[in-house]
Protein backbone atom coordinates (compact mmCIF):
# COMPACT_ATOMS: atom_id res chain seq x y z
CA UNK A 1 0.00 0.00 0.00
CA UNK A 2 1.35 3.49 -0.79
CA UNK A 3 2.13 5.69 2.17
CA UNK A 4 0.15 8.71 1.02
CA UNK A 5 -2.70 8.74 -1.47
CA UNK A 6 -1.37 9.76 -4.86
CA UNK A 7 -3.56 11.80 -7.17
CA UNK A 8 -4.83 9.33 -9.73
CA UNK A 9 -6.40 10.15 -13.04
CA UNK A 10 -9.88 9.11 -13.91
CA UNK A 11 -8.66 7.08 -16.86
CA UNK A 12 -6.40 5.07 -14.61
CA UNK A 13 -9.29 4.22 -12.32
CA UNK A 14 -11.46 3.19 -15.22
CA UNK A 15 -8.72 0.91 -16.48
CA UNK A 16 -8.25 -0.62 -13.02
CA UNK A 17 -11.88 -1.58 -13.18
CA UNK A 18 -11.27 -3.30 -16.51
CA UNK A 19 -8.24 -5.08 -15.16
CA UNK A 20 -10.32 -6.33 -12.26
CA UNK A 21 -12.85 -7.80 -14.63
CA UNK A 22 -10.11 -9.56 -16.58
CA UNK A 23 -8.50 -10.86 -13.40
CA UNK A 24 -11.79 -12.34 -12.28
CA UNK A 25 -11.96 -14.24 -15.54
CA UNK A 26 -8.38 -15.43 -15.22
CA UNK A 27 -9.04 -16.47 -11.67
CA UNK A 28 -12.04 -18.49 -12.74
CA UNK A 29 -9.87 -20.10 -15.39
CA UNK A 30 -7.43 -20.93 -12.60
CA UNK A 31 -4.56 -19.06 -14.20
CA UNK A 32 -2.07 -18.42 -11.40
CA UNK A 33 -0.16 -15.52 -12.95
CA UNK A 34 -0.49 -12.98 -15.72
CA UNK A 35 2.02 -10.73 -17.42
CA UNK A 36 1.39 -7.07 -18.08
CA UNK A 37 1.40 -7.94 -21.76
CA UNK A 38 -1.38 -10.46 -21.49
CA UNK A 39 -3.41 -8.34 -19.10
CA UNK A 40 -3.12 -5.46 -21.54
CA UNK A 41 -4.22 -7.62 -24.42
CA UNK A 42 -7.32 -8.79 -22.58
CA UNK A 43 -8.20 -5.36 -21.29
CA UNK A 44 -7.55 -3.57 -24.55
CA UNK A 45 -4.59 -1.37 -23.64
CA UNK A 46 -0.78 -1.52 -23.67
CA UNK A 47 1.57 -3.43 -21.38
CA UNK A 48 3.40 -0.27 -20.36
CA UNK A 49 0.09 1.29 -19.46
CA UNK A 50 -0.83 -1.64 -17.26
CA UNK A 51 2.47 -1.43 -15.41
CA UNK A 52 2.23 2.34 -14.95
CA UNK A 53 -1.32 2.10 -13.71
CA UNK A 54 -0.51 -0.57 -11.17
CA UNK A 55 2.76 1.01 -10.08
CA UNK A 56 0.85 4.05 -8.83
CA UNK A 57 -0.46 1.92 -6.02
CA UNK A 58 2.46 -0.35 -5.28
CA UNK A 59 4.68 -3.10 -6.63
CA UNK A 60 2.41 -6.04 -7.13
CA UNK A 61 4.42 -8.00 -9.70
CA UNK A 62 7.52 -10.14 -9.70
CA UNK A 63 10.15 -9.45 -12.34
CA UNK A 64 10.50 -12.28 -14.76
CA UNK A 65 7.18 -13.76 -13.65
CA UNK A 66 4.37 -11.29 -13.89
CA UNK A 67 1.54 -10.71 -11.46
CA UNK A 68 -0.09 -13.31 -9.24
CA UNK A 69 -3.72 -13.21 -10.34
CA UNK A 70 -5.51 -13.74 -7.06
CA UNK A 71 -3.54 -11.30 -4.90
CA UNK A 72 -3.67 -8.66 -7.61
CA UNK A 73 -7.44 -9.07 -7.82
CA UNK A 74 -7.66 -8.49 -4.10
CA UNK A 75 -5.40 -5.46 -4.31
CA UNK A 76 -7.56 -3.93 -6.99
CA UNK A 77 -10.73 -4.51 -5.00
CA UNK A 78 -9.06 -2.82 -2.06
CA UNK A 79 -7.91 0.13 -4.18
CA UNK A 80 -11.32 0.60 -5.73
CA UNK A 81 -13.02 0.36 -2.37
CA UNK A 82 -14.83 -2.87 -3.16
CA UNK A 83 -13.98 -4.89 -0.07
CA UNK A 84 -17.06 -3.42 1.52
CA UNK A 85 -20.74 -3.57 0.64
CA UNK A 86 -22.22 -0.43 -0.90
CA UNK A 87 -25.92 0.05 -0.29
CA UNK A 88 -27.45 2.07 -3.10
CA UNK A 89 -30.68 4.00 -3.41
CA UNK A 90 -32.36 3.92 -6.81
CA UNK A 91 -34.46 6.92 -7.74
CA UNK A 92 -36.87 6.21 -10.57
CA UNK A 93 -38.82 2.99 -11.02
CA UNK A 94 -39.33 3.31 -14.76
CA UNK A 95 -37.87 1.17 -17.52
CA UNK A 96 -34.27 2.04 -16.86
CA UNK A 97 -34.64 1.89 -13.11
CA UNK A 98 -36.19 -1.53 -13.40
CA UNK A 99 -33.41 -2.80 -15.66
CA UNK A 100 -30.76 -1.52 -13.25
CA UNK A 101 -32.54 -3.06 -10.29
CA UNK A 102 -32.37 -6.44 -11.97
CA UNK A 103 -28.84 -5.96 -13.28
CA UNK A 104 -26.96 -8.95 -11.84
CA UNK A 105 -23.43 -7.55 -12.06
CA UNK A 106 -23.92 -4.80 -9.47
CA UNK A 107 -24.45 -7.19 -6.63
CA UNK A 108 -21.40 -9.23 -7.60
CA UNK A 109 -19.25 -6.20 -6.89
CA UNK A 110 -20.96 -5.30 -3.66
CA UNK A 111 -23.41 -2.70 -4.94
CA UNK A 112 -26.81 -3.52 -3.56
CA UNK A 113 -29.93 -1.56 -4.34
CA UNK A 114 -31.58 -1.45 -0.96
CA UNK A 115 -34.21 1.18 -1.67
CA UNK A 116 -36.30 2.31 -4.61
CA UNK A 117 -38.04 5.66 -4.78
CA UNK A 118 -40.47 7.07 -7.36
CA UNK A 119 -42.64 10.14 -7.70
CA UNK A 120 -45.49 8.28 -9.36
CA UNK A 121 -48.11 7.38 -6.71
CA UNK A 122 -49.23 4.48 -8.89
CA UNK A 123 -45.84 2.84 -8.46
CA UNK A 124 -45.36 3.62 -4.78
CA UNK A 125 -46.14 0.69 -2.54
CA UNK A 126 -45.33 -1.98 -5.11
CA UNK A 127 -42.68 -4.46 -4.19
CA UNK A 128 -39.69 -5.39 -6.31
CA UNK A 129 -38.21 -8.57 -5.07
CA UNK A 130 -38.78 -7.59 -1.48
CA UNK A 131 -37.91 -3.92 -1.84
CA UNK A 132 -40.90 -1.62 -1.44
CA UNK A 133 -41.08 1.41 -3.70
CA UNK A 134 -41.24 4.55 -1.57
CA UNK A 135 -42.45 8.04 -2.45
CA UNK A 136 -39.77 10.65 -3.22
CA UNK A 137 -40.80 12.48 -0.11
CA UNK A 138 -39.34 9.66 1.97
CA UNK A 139 -35.95 9.99 0.31
CA UNK A 140 -34.31 11.66 3.25
CA UNK A 141 -35.68 9.17 5.74
CA UNK A 142 -34.75 6.18 3.58
CA UNK A 143 -31.19 7.34 2.97
CA UNK A 144 -30.59 8.04 6.63
CA UNK A 145 -32.11 4.81 7.84
CA UNK A 146 -30.25 2.59 5.39
CA UNK A 147 -27.02 4.56 5.50
CA UNK A 148 -26.68 4.79 1.73
CA UNK A 149 -23.98 7.02 0.30
CA UNK A 150 -24.57 6.18 -3.36
CA UNK A 151 -27.60 7.05 -5.44
CA UNK A 152 -28.67 6.14 -8.96
CA UNK A 153 -30.78 8.69 -10.79
CA UNK A 154 -32.99 7.08 -13.41
CA UNK A 155 -35.68 9.69 -13.93
CA UNK A 156 -36.75 12.10 -16.69
CA UNK A 157 -34.59 15.13 -17.39
CA UNK A 158 -36.99 17.76 -16.04
CA UNK A 159 -36.89 16.35 -12.53
CA UNK A 160 -33.24 15.45 -12.29
CA UNK A 161 -31.61 18.58 -10.85
CA UNK A 162 -34.15 19.00 -8.07
CA UNK A 163 -34.06 15.33 -7.19
CA UNK A 164 -30.27 15.30 -7.23
CA UNK A 165 -30.30 18.16 -4.75
CA UNK A 166 -32.73 16.22 -2.60
CA UNK A 167 -30.33 13.26 -2.69
CA UNK A 168 -27.46 15.47 -1.61
CA UNK A 169 -29.50 17.00 1.18
CA UNK A 170 -30.37 13.51 2.34
CA UNK A 171 -26.67 12.78 2.72
CA UNK A 172 -25.77 11.03 -0.53
CA UNK A 173 -22.11 11.59 -1.56
CA UNK A 174 -21.99 9.97 -5.01
CA UNK A 175 -24.52 9.92 -7.83
CA UNK A 176 -24.75 7.86 -10.98
CA UNK A 177 -26.90 9.95 -13.28
CA UNK A 178 -28.82 8.47 -16.19
CA UNK A 179 -30.98 11.55 -16.72
CA UNK A 180 -29.90 13.50 -19.80
CA UNK A 181 -28.98 16.73 -18.02
CA UNK A 182 -25.80 18.13 -16.61
CA UNK A 183 -26.17 18.17 -12.84
CA UNK A 184 -24.78 21.15 -10.97
CA UNK A 185 -23.95 20.19 -7.42
CA UNK A 186 -21.42 21.01 -4.73
CA UNK A 187 -17.95 19.99 -5.92
CA UNK A 188 -17.43 17.47 -3.14
CA UNK A 189 -20.34 15.43 -4.47
CA UNK A 190 -19.03 12.90 -6.99
CA UNK A 191 -21.19 12.57 -10.06
CA UNK A 192 -20.88 10.18 -12.97
CA UNK A 193 -23.02 10.87 -15.97
CA UNK A 194 -24.17 8.03 -18.19
CA UNK A 195 -25.30 9.63 -21.40
CA UNK A 196 -26.76 7.00 -23.66
CA UNK A 197 -27.55 9.33 -26.53
CA UNK A 198 -24.02 10.67 -26.45
CA UNK A 199 -22.64 7.16 -26.89
CA UNK A 200 -24.67 6.66 -30.04
CA UNK A 201 -23.71 10.12 -31.25
CA UNK A 202 -20.04 9.27 -30.89
CA UNK A 203 -20.66 6.29 -33.13
CA UNK A 204 -22.59 8.44 -35.54
CA UNK A 205 -19.69 10.88 -35.76
CA UNK A 206 -17.16 8.13 -36.29
CA UNK A 207 -19.13 6.60 -39.13
CA UNK A 208 -20.17 9.86 -40.68
CA UNK A 209 -17.57 12.49 -40.05
CA UNK A 210 -14.23 10.80 -40.26
CA UNK A 211 -12.88 7.28 -40.15
CA UNK A 212 -10.96 7.14 -36.95
CA UNK A 213 -9.88 3.71 -35.87
CA UNK A 214 -9.90 2.69 -32.22
CA UNK A 215 -6.58 0.89 -32.28
CA UNK A 216 -3.81 1.40 -29.75
CA UNK A 217 -2.16 -1.85 -28.52
CA UNK A 218 1.54 -2.66 -28.56
CA UNK A 219 4.55 -2.31 -26.28
Amino acid sequence: MPPNLPSVSDSTIRRLSLYLRVLEELNEASEPTVSSRRLAELAGTSAAQVRKDLSRFGSFGKRGLGYAVDPLERHLREILGLQRRWPVVLVGAGRIGSALFEYPYFRERGFEIVAVVDRDPAKVGRRWNGVKIEPVESLSKVVRELGTELGILAIPADDAQATAEALVNAGIRGILNFAPVQLHLRPEIVVNEVNLTLELEALSFALHGSSRATSPERD
Copy 2:
Protein backbone atom coordinates in the same frame (compact mmCIF):
# COMPACT_ATOMS: atom_id res chain seq x y z
CA MET B 1 -16.60 23.92 -42.95
CA PRO B 2 -12.94 22.98 -42.79
CA PRO B 3 -11.28 22.01 -46.06
CA ASN B 4 -9.90 18.66 -44.87
CA LEU B 5 -11.15 16.60 -41.99
CA PRO B 6 -9.02 17.34 -38.96
CA SER B 7 -8.31 14.53 -36.52
CA VAL B 8 -10.58 15.21 -33.59
CA SER B 9 -10.24 13.76 -30.15
CA ASP B 10 -12.88 11.62 -28.59
CA SER B 11 -13.28 14.04 -25.70
CA THR B 12 -14.01 16.87 -28.10
CA ILE B 13 -16.74 14.82 -29.76
CA ARG B 14 -18.28 13.93 -26.45
CA ARG B 15 -18.34 17.59 -25.47
CA LEU B 16 -19.91 18.57 -28.78
CA SER B 17 -22.73 16.22 -27.90
CA LEU B 18 -23.15 17.99 -24.58
CA TYR B 19 -23.12 21.39 -26.28
CA LEU B 20 -25.83 20.18 -28.61
CA ARG B 21 -28.01 19.22 -25.70
CA VAL B 22 -27.52 22.62 -24.11
CA LEU B 23 -28.23 24.41 -27.38
CA GLU B 24 -31.50 22.52 -27.77
CA GLU B 25 -32.53 23.77 -24.36
CA LEU B 26 -31.51 27.33 -25.16
CA ASN B 27 -33.37 27.12 -28.43
CA GLU B 28 -36.50 25.98 -26.66
CA ALA B 29 -36.12 28.88 -24.27
CA SER B 30 -35.89 31.11 -27.37
CA GLU B 31 -32.48 32.45 -26.47
CA PRO B 32 -31.04 33.86 -29.69
CA THR B 33 -27.37 33.80 -28.79
CA VAL B 34 -25.00 32.30 -26.26
CA SER B 35 -21.45 33.15 -25.25
CA SER B 36 -18.75 30.53 -24.84
CA ARG B 37 -18.78 31.37 -21.17
CA ARG B 38 -22.43 30.57 -20.70
CA LEU B 39 -22.29 27.51 -22.90
CA ALA B 40 -19.37 26.24 -20.85
CA GLU B 41 -21.23 26.88 -17.63
CA LEU B 42 -24.26 24.91 -18.80
CA ALA B 43 -22.22 22.07 -20.25
CA GLY B 44 -19.83 21.83 -17.34
CA THR B 45 -16.55 22.86 -18.94
CA SER B 46 -14.49 26.01 -19.54
CA ALA B 47 -15.10 28.82 -22.01
CA ALA B 48 -11.71 28.35 -23.63
CA GLN B 49 -12.50 24.71 -24.11
CA VAL B 50 -15.76 25.50 -25.82
CA ARG B 51 -14.07 27.89 -28.22
CA LYS B 52 -11.23 25.45 -28.97
CA ASP B 53 -13.67 22.63 -29.57
CA LEU B 54 -15.81 24.63 -31.94
CA SER B 55 -12.88 26.24 -33.73
CA ARG B 56 -11.76 22.84 -34.93
CA PHE B 57 -14.73 22.80 -37.24
CA GLY B 58 -15.03 26.41 -38.27
CA SER B 59 -15.76 29.92 -37.04
CA PHE B 60 -19.31 29.86 -35.86
CA GLY B 61 -19.29 32.81 -33.50
CA LYS B 62 -19.26 36.58 -33.80
CA ARG B 63 -16.74 38.50 -31.72
CA GLY B 64 -18.38 40.65 -29.12
CA LEU B 65 -21.65 38.76 -29.52
CA GLY B 66 -21.21 35.06 -29.04
CA TYR B 67 -22.79 32.23 -31.00
CA ALA B 68 -26.20 32.26 -32.65
CA VAL B 69 -27.98 29.37 -30.97
CA ASP B 70 -30.03 27.98 -33.81
CA PRO B 71 -27.33 27.94 -36.50
CA LEU B 72 -24.79 26.52 -34.10
CA GLU B 73 -27.19 23.73 -33.19
CA ARG B 74 -27.54 22.90 -36.86
CA HIS B 75 -23.77 22.94 -37.35
CA LEU B 76 -23.27 20.55 -34.46
CA ARG B 77 -25.90 18.18 -35.83
CA GLU B 78 -24.13 18.27 -39.14
CA ILE B 79 -20.73 17.64 -37.57
CA LEU B 80 -22.00 14.76 -35.49
CA GLY B 81 -23.76 13.23 -38.45
CA LEU B 82 -27.24 13.73 -37.06
CA GLN B 83 -28.96 15.32 -40.04
CA ARG B 84 -29.79 11.82 -41.19
CA ARG B 85 -31.83 9.02 -39.66
CA TRP B 86 -29.85 6.12 -38.20
CA PRO B 87 -31.67 2.83 -38.17
CA VAL B 88 -30.39 0.65 -35.33
CA VAL B 89 -30.63 -3.05 -34.62
CA LEU B 90 -31.03 -4.04 -31.00
CA VAL B 91 -29.62 -7.41 -29.99
CA GLY B 92 -31.07 -8.66 -26.73
CA ALA B 93 -34.66 -8.32 -25.63
CA GLY B 94 -34.03 -8.58 -21.91
CA ARG B 95 -34.43 -5.89 -19.27
CA ILE B 96 -31.80 -3.56 -20.63
CA GLY B 97 -32.82 -4.11 -24.23
CA SER B 98 -36.39 -3.33 -23.35
CA ALA B 99 -35.42 -0.15 -21.51
CA LEU B 100 -33.33 1.01 -24.46
CA PHE B 101 -36.12 0.22 -26.90
CA GLU B 102 -38.45 2.49 -24.96
CA TYR B 103 -35.82 5.17 -24.35
CA PRO B 104 -37.42 8.29 -25.83
CA TYR B 105 -34.28 10.35 -26.38
CA PHE B 106 -32.79 8.11 -29.07
CA ARG B 107 -35.55 8.82 -31.55
CA GLU B 108 -35.27 12.57 -30.94
CA ARG B 109 -31.74 12.45 -32.31
CA GLY B 110 -32.56 10.25 -35.26
CA PHE B 111 -31.63 6.88 -33.80
CA GLU B 112 -34.47 4.49 -34.48
CA ILE B 113 -34.50 0.90 -33.33
CA VAL B 114 -35.96 -0.80 -36.37
CA ALA B 115 -35.20 -4.40 -35.45
CA VAL B 116 -34.94 -6.47 -32.30
CA VAL B 117 -33.21 -9.81 -32.14
CA ASP B 118 -32.97 -12.36 -29.33
CA ARG B 119 -31.67 -15.89 -28.89
CA ASP B 120 -34.48 -16.94 -26.57
CA PRO B 121 -37.16 -18.75 -28.62
CA ALA B 122 -39.74 -17.77 -26.02
CA LYS B 123 -39.22 -14.10 -26.89
CA VAL B 124 -38.99 -14.50 -30.64
CA GLY B 125 -42.18 -13.64 -32.41
CA ARG B 126 -43.40 -11.17 -29.80
CA ARG B 127 -44.08 -7.66 -30.94
CA TRP B 128 -42.75 -4.55 -29.30
CA ASN B 129 -44.70 -1.58 -30.48
CA GLY B 130 -44.88 -2.95 -34.01
CA VAL B 131 -41.37 -4.36 -34.14
CA LYS B 132 -41.30 -8.15 -34.20
CA ILE B 133 -38.54 -9.89 -32.25
CA GLU B 134 -36.49 -12.03 -34.62
CA PRO B 135 -34.20 -14.97 -33.86
CA VAL B 136 -30.45 -14.28 -33.83
CA GLU B 137 -30.12 -16.47 -36.88
CA SER B 138 -31.94 -13.82 -38.91
CA LEU B 139 -29.45 -11.14 -37.89
CA SER B 140 -27.71 -11.06 -41.22
CA LYS B 141 -30.93 -10.91 -43.21
CA VAL B 142 -32.43 -8.24 -40.97
CA VAL B 143 -29.37 -6.00 -41.10
CA ARG B 144 -29.13 -6.23 -44.85
CA GLU B 145 -32.83 -5.67 -45.48
CA LEU B 146 -33.11 -2.67 -43.20
CA GLY B 147 -29.71 -1.22 -44.06
CA THR B 148 -28.65 -0.75 -40.45
CA GLU B 149 -25.07 0.25 -39.74
CA LEU B 150 -25.42 0.59 -35.97
CA GLY B 151 -26.06 -2.17 -33.48
CA ILE B 152 -26.76 -2.19 -29.75
CA LEU B 153 -25.57 -5.20 -27.83
CA ALA B 154 -27.65 -5.81 -24.70
CA ILE B 155 -26.98 -9.45 -23.95
CA PRO B 156 -25.13 -11.47 -21.29
CA ALA B 157 -21.36 -11.45 -21.28
CA ASP B 158 -20.82 -15.02 -22.42
CA ASP B 159 -22.54 -14.47 -25.73
CA ALA B 160 -21.24 -11.01 -26.56
CA GLN B 161 -18.06 -11.67 -28.54
CA ALA B 162 -19.67 -14.21 -30.85
CA THR B 163 -22.73 -12.06 -31.39
CA ALA B 164 -20.61 -9.00 -32.03
CA GLU B 165 -18.76 -10.92 -34.72
CA ALA B 166 -22.09 -11.92 -36.22
CA LEU B 167 -23.11 -8.26 -36.27
CA VAL B 168 -19.90 -7.33 -38.04
CA ASN B 169 -20.31 -10.13 -40.56
CA ALA B 170 -23.82 -8.91 -41.21
CA GLY B 171 -22.40 -5.52 -42.17
CA ILE B 172 -22.70 -3.47 -38.98
CA ARG B 173 -20.02 -0.76 -38.67
CA GLY B 174 -20.61 0.57 -35.18
CA ILE B 175 -21.57 -1.16 -31.95
CA LEU B 176 -22.78 0.14 -28.63
CA ASN B 177 -21.90 -2.61 -26.19
CA PHE B 178 -23.67 -3.02 -22.86
CA ALA B 179 -22.30 -6.49 -22.24
CA PRO B 180 -19.57 -6.49 -19.60
CA VAL B 181 -16.77 -7.82 -21.80
CA GLN B 182 -14.10 -6.22 -23.87
CA LEU B 183 -14.95 -6.86 -27.52
CA HIS B 184 -12.10 -7.66 -29.88
CA LEU B 185 -13.06 -6.76 -33.43
CA ARG B 186 -11.45 -5.47 -36.58
CA PRO B 187 -10.10 -1.96 -35.93
CA GLU B 188 -12.33 -0.31 -38.51
CA ILE B 189 -15.37 -1.33 -36.50
CA VAL B 190 -16.23 1.43 -34.04
CA VAL B 191 -17.16 0.17 -30.61
CA ASN B 192 -18.37 2.09 -27.58
CA GLU B 193 -18.48 0.23 -24.33
CA VAL B 194 -21.03 1.17 -21.68
CA ASN B 195 -19.81 -0.39 -18.48
CA LEU B 196 -22.36 0.19 -15.77
CA THR B 197 -20.43 -1.54 -13.04
CA LEU B 198 -17.36 0.50 -13.88
CA GLU B 199 -19.32 3.69 -13.37
CA LEU B 200 -20.31 2.66 -9.88
CA GLU B 201 -16.77 1.54 -9.17
CA ALA B 202 -15.45 4.94 -10.11
CA LEU B 203 -17.80 6.41 -7.53
CA SER B 204 -16.72 3.82 -5.01
CA PHE B 205 -13.09 4.75 -5.55
CA ALA B 206 -13.77 8.44 -5.25
CA LEU B 207 -15.61 8.04 -1.96
CA HIS B 208 -13.31 5.44 -0.55
CA GLY B 209 -9.82 5.87 -1.87
CA SER B 210 -9.19 9.58 -2.03
CA SER B 211 -11.24 12.73 -2.04
CA ARG B 212 -10.72 14.07 -5.49
CA ALA B 213 -13.12 16.81 -6.44
CA THR B 214 -14.57 16.99 -9.94
CA SER B 215 -14.26 20.72 -10.31
CA PRO B 216 -12.73 22.45 -13.31
CA GLU B 217 -14.66 25.57 -14.53
CA ARG B 218 -13.24 29.03 -15.03
CA ASP B 219 -11.67 31.05 -17.81
